[in-house]
Symmetry: C2
Subunit: 157 residues, 2 copies
């Protein structure tokens, strides 16, 4: 997981686009295509150093896009850094905006959605060593969608 | 180091003051008075959970204030979240603003200063287990101040 090259002391933000960007930080695919459902989301690894036991990433979701609905043993500590949208954690859906905090405890179902007309960008802290995400089975997803607020969230409403 | 109480999933930002604030997150002293030189700086612990090996804090410096000049074995991964100022890392001084990234490698001298007319707020990721900071000896500080850019920074110019 670790990049062993020295890390520059300063990485200024750059660009005048809709979202956030930094000098020397690559915009990466969120996941491999077809691995899981998602739409319009990119990933940047901001800090991934051998001296740190945590890894800090920045995810940005285009207007109308969403991250994968998933859960795993490892936790996420999230800080909203750009734009606005909504987050599902466990069985709760809440609006989120800069600089709200979101805590995703182990094994909580979670998904982020950008607003229809605004992107959603957030920092996400994880442990360097972590397990792979699990997707819901059709039965698990149907069970979640029995709650009207979650059904509306899944439908993008 | 860890707080063992359950962490709420959502902590919305709150307040309409000059700086950032979150529901349920205490504004703490930066350090004990007299322990080290600093001015006009507060500390908030955003995420400090047993499930995470990293701890995420938010520091905010009032206009004209500064953090302690120090170094230590542990590293800092910093994201500027509010306002603007300057940072000293090693022997480099750079302006910083939202959402710049600053990497403070082990044993690098470092200090943050808010602008004269603006606060400076930043996220700082550290390992949960870490050593105590060291202050410069008078000789070390004098040696650093031999560089004009660092002397001006120390003088607040």
């Amino acid at each position: 997981m670790n990049q062993r090259a020295p890390h520059p002391s300063f990485r200024p933000a750059q660009g005048a686009g809709e979202g956030l960007d930094w000098a020397g930080v690559d915009r990466l695919d969120y996941k491999s295509e077809g691995e899981a459902p998602f739409r319009g989301i990119s990933r940047r690894v901001l800090f991934d150093q051998p001296e740190l036991q945590g890894q800090l990433r920045y995810f940005e979701i285009e207007p109308g896009g969403y991250s994968t609905l998933e859960r795993h043993e490892h936790a996420h500590a999230v800080v909203i850094l750009h734009g606005a949208g909504r987050a599902l954690v466990g069985r709760a859906v809440r609006p989120v905006a800069v600089p709200d905090l979101v805590w995703i405890a182990p094994w909580s179902w979670h998904q982020f959605r950008a607003a229809a007309d605004r992107p959603l960008g957030f920092l996400c802290l994880v442990n360097q060593e972590r397990d792979r995400p699990q997707l819901p089975t059709p039965a698990e997803r149907a069970e979640l969608a029995r709650e009207p607020a979650l059904a509306a969230f899944f439908a993008g409403n």
